[in-house]
């Protein structure tokens, strides 16, 4: 059942007299079904974060539209929970207040909100840390608060922007496990931007590989392995290898397109 639809999205940043127009995304289309976990994978600068930002409603496409349950997205909204790369936790609010803020503008009763916050704190295993401020939390805890906060308002989709981008290797696998557990438990549709291949194989049902050539979709790769994924299994490693070569192609796309341009001009 179709949940999120990306319809012919194009994003152009207008240049000025010195620089030409910058085409970040051109005619991108795909759809995401309910309950799927989709990763947007690709080299830096291919436009995947731009695409996610537009899904969040913080940026407007130059042309094309994004539809959630058939309705066009026109700005940020609580049906789409967003987890920022730097978590964007409110530094002057405690853990509990941060998570509760996700519910602040909803129409639920006070008791319902209390219950929801309690449930999320439990799910994120933050019990005992409710009164702490973000500055006192470790990176992993901050991430869990950010995800819990995004999930608080019962969103339809969860959007994650490289949530593990700044974390070192050892912590990353641990945090992937925790993130995976939280998302699976929430039974929610999710889109995550990442540049880490093994992360995308671990977390998602589908990986969409975007290339340097204006975000052109190199591949829509389905992953059919059972959860919890085993990083050491043969199938897992096979997926990683295949996706890695796809990402390489995606990375070189710009070069081939660029080379073609230069060759045309030379003629």
């Amino acid at each position: 059942m179709e949940c999120l639809k990306i319809d012919n999205i194009t994003k152009v940043y207008k240049g000025n007299k010195k620089e030409p127009d910058k085409i970040v995304l051109k005619d991108i289309s795909f759809s995401i079904n309910e309950g799927e976990f989709v990763c947007l994978l690709g080299p830096s600068g291919c436009g995947k974060t731009t695409l996610l930002t537009m899904m969040g409603g913080f940026l407007e496409p130059t042309s094309g539209k994004i539809l959630l349950d058939g309705n066009e997205i026109k700005g940020p909204g609580s049906e789409r929970g967003y987890v920022f790369q730097n978590y964007a936790l409110f530094p002057w609010m405690t853990v509990k207040e941060n998570i509760a803020y996700g519910l602040k503008f909803s129409t639920k009763t006070k008791e319902e909100k209390e219950e929801r916050v309690k449930y999320l704190i439990n799910m994120a295993r933050l019990n005992g840390n409710e009164k702490k401020f973000p500055i006192q939390l470790s990176g992993g805890m901050q991430q869990r608060v950010a995800v819990a906060r995004a999930l608080a308002g019962f969103p339809r989709v969860l959007l994650l922007d490289e949530p593990l981008g700044a974390i070192d290797f050892q912590m990353r696998e641990l945090l992937q496990n925790e993130l995976d557990q939280m998302v699976q438990e929430a039974h929610i549709t999710a889109v995550m931007v990442t540049h880490d291949v093994s992360e995308s194989v671990f977390m998602s049902d589908r990986v969409i590989v975007l290339g340097n050539n204006h975000g052109h979709i190199v591949s829509d790769y389905k992953i059919d392995l059972p959860r919890r994924r085993d990083r050491e299994s043969e199938e897992f490693k096979k997926c990683v290898t295949e996706l890695t070569s796809l990402v390489r192609i995606a990375f070189n796309e710009n070069i081939t397109a660029g080379e073609a341009c230069i060759m045309k001009r030379r003629k």
Binding site: M93, K131, P134, I135, Q136
Partner: protein, 48 residues
């Protein structure tokens, strides 16, 4: 204080200047304490 200035009564003048400085300093210190307690969220240690 203007009086002391006019009469070149330097000892009084100095005394008053120092008093003014101390009062100003005291106000500033009070504000620093207020600041510390109201913005606990900025500090890693010493919060509940």
């Amino acid at each position: 204080m203007v009086e002391a200035q006019n009469r070149l009564n330097t000892s009084t003048l100095y005394a008053l200047m120092i008093m003014a400085a101390i009062i100003g300093f005291a106000i500033d210190q009070v504000l620093r304490v207020v600041e510390r307690s109201l913005t606990r969220w900025r500090y890693k240690d010493g919060v509940s």
